[in-house]
């Protein structure tokens, strides 16, 4: 038996190494001008065993740092490690200029983890927030993200989007052979990557159902593109389209009933709607130009899409009630692949300027377009469900990586994969807990 364990050990290490390589790293490149200093004290472990299986405070610290809006203080600078209110000496925290103090306790029984957290305003010397999150120990990281969400909301007034997930496509190049495409699901910080589909043929355009329980994507696994949907909890998978020509850009409607997509079965690429219960198709654009990249307005009453009907790609809006199409973007020669924030006001898109492709945000109320990124090959923007950050794909040092920028352009970070290229990020909606 002992020999068997020893024989298995290298195998296990190999598996772990594989996981680690698929994981995304995080490099913060720009933070907010005036981040809020916060002390996230290591949470006291009250369960069985020597320590908590995950360092909850470290995950919260990393979430808050990545948001760019917080400047967590170094653990080594902390003059105490309180886990209860009676142990807090506010002068210790004023001394290291922390505006806020987060403490907590972690316990676990029969695989169920319980995290209690308390947030204190150091200046006012008052408890301003507190709560308990519980769930399976295997979801410890997600529970920590929920603590981050609560802290973020209390301090910024905006709901956090840490307890969310990402879909992306990882590509490994094989010299002289076809690439490996891996549709990957991870936590919002890139941790815990899971490969949902691996193929030697392209996989692209991953997207979420509005409740976060299902995904859609395009796979070329049959030698031709087709749209698939997959249930994340059951793994059940269904091929939705198999038309001649393009089968692409699936976009789930906010009410979950309809999938917008681009098909070219009738000649040129046009936008179609598929009723997901009857599979009935309705063609909504009829133009000899390229119409593609549909995306829903949050109210579900209209869609934005990319069209080159004016000569160059620009964003247009299709009104589902009137069937009318109006042009939305006028600035620049190339605006494409829009995604709309939940407020229905900020639209992120790919904007070309001086031959370079950047991520820009268009305010639909003021019609002001602001370029957010300065790299040359930025694409596939995806907006966090709280509207704060935009995740996108770019090229850095010759490799495809994911990067993020805040909607105001101030905060930037990169999420390079440890090997290969990553692309096509899709930020999940809020997940039901």
């Amino acid at each position: 038996m002992k020999r068997l364990i020893l024989a298995c050990a290298p195998l296990l290490l190999l598996v772990l190494a594989q996981c680690a390589r698929a994981e995304l790293a995080i490099e913060i490149t720009s933070g907010s001008d005036n981040p809020t200093p916060i002390a996230v004290v290591p949470f006291a472990w009250q369960g069985q065993g020597a320590a908590s299986p995950e360092d909850i405070a470290a995950i919260v610290d990393s979430d808050l740092t990545r948001s760019g809006l917080f400047a967590p203080v170094d653990r080594n600078d902390m003059l105490g490690r309180p886990s209860r209110e009676q142990d807090i000496y506010y002068r210790d925290w004023r001394a290291i200029s922390a505006d806020y103090l987060l403490i907590g306790r972690v316990s676990s029984t029969a695989g169920q983890m319980r995290i209690e957290y308390e947030l204190y305003d150091v200046v006012r010397q008052a408890r301003v927030e507190g709560g308990t999150v519980t769930g399976p120990e295997s979801e410890a990281r997600m529970l920590a993200h929920r603590v981050s969400d609560a802290v973020y909301k209390k301090v910024t007034g905006i709901p956090g989007a840490f307890a969310t997930r990402l879909l992306y496509v990882a590509v490994t190049h094989v010299p002289g052979a076809k690439d490996y495409f891996r549709l990957t699901l991870s936590d919002s910080d890139g941790a815990r990557p899971i490969v949902l589909l691996e193929s030697r043929e392209p996989i692209l355009a991953p997207g979420w159902s509005p409740d976060g329980s299902q995904i859609v994507y395009v796979s070329f696994e049959t030698g031709r593109p087709a749209i698939y949907r997959q249930n994340l909890s059951t793994g059940a998978r269904e091929q939705l389209t198999n038309f001649k020509g393009l089968n692409g850009a699936p976009a789930w409607s906010p009410d979950g009933r309809t999938l917008a997509m681009v098909l070219s079965k009738d000649g040129s690429p046009d936008i179609y709607l598929m009723d997901l219960s009857t599979k009935q198709l309705t063609r909504i654009t009829r133009h000899y130009a390229i119409d593609t990249e549909p995306t829903w307005m949050p109210d579900g009453r209209s869609l934005l899409f990319t069209s080159d009907r004016g000569g160059r790609p620009q964003i247009y809006r299709y009104d589902l009630r009137t069937g009318t199409v109006e042009r939305v973007t006028y600035e620049g020669v190339y605006n494409a692949r829009a995604r709309v924030a939940q407020d229905g006001r900020n639209v992120v898109l790919v904007h070309q300027e001086n031959g370079q492709f950047h991520i820009a945000v268009l305010d639909l109320v003021t019609n002001r377009l602001v370029i957010l990124t300065s790299t040359a090959l930025d694409e596939s923007p995806s907006i966090a469900p709280n509207g704060s950050m935009v995740l996108y794909a770019t090229k850095y040092q010759g490799r495809g990586i994911l990067a993020a920028v805040s909607v105001d352009g101030g905060v930037k970070f990169r999420l390079p994969a440890r090997e290969g290229d990553v692309r096509e990020p899709a930020w999940s909606p809020y997940m039901s807990q």
């Binding site: 692209l204 355009a205 070329f220 393009l246 390229i290 790609p313 494409a336 070309q352 010759g398 692309r423």
Partner: protein, 172 residues
Amino acid sequence: MKYLSVAGKAVIVLFTAALLAACSSSAKKDDADAAAAAAAAKAEQERAAAAAAAQTELRRKMDAAAAYGNVFYFDFDSYNLKPEAIESLNAHIAYLKDTDEPIRLEGHTDERGTREYNMALGERRANAVRDYMVLNGIPSYRIETVSYGEERPIATGSGEANWSQNRRVELK
């Protein structure tokens, strides 16, 4: 032999004569058959020669097409066939018209621009090649077009030297 009677000899003579007569008439028939066979052989030879010539001609067309390669290149954000692509396509069409092979056209783009827009652009490129083939006598039912957009680059680097290799339609 010495035991044979005269009658017996006569029978043998008669039989021999009959046999000879039979031989002479079958010789005449053989001549006719030989002529027909020769004609058939000649026709067969001619047919084989024609087939061989056709085969040689097909081979020549195939080699001529192959000399151009099976990739047609495009300008940035364009799906117009360039003169060199048309020259190459003409050679391929000359060969393909003499065959009934199924044809697969794969459209590709460079990495610039969004992936789904590039998917549409790749399809337009494949369609431009298909339309030119159909216009020049290849039945459309033989042609399948698939766009890979920017998903399958030949050259993975950035810059025009790489991009120009990736804006293409491949004939499979």
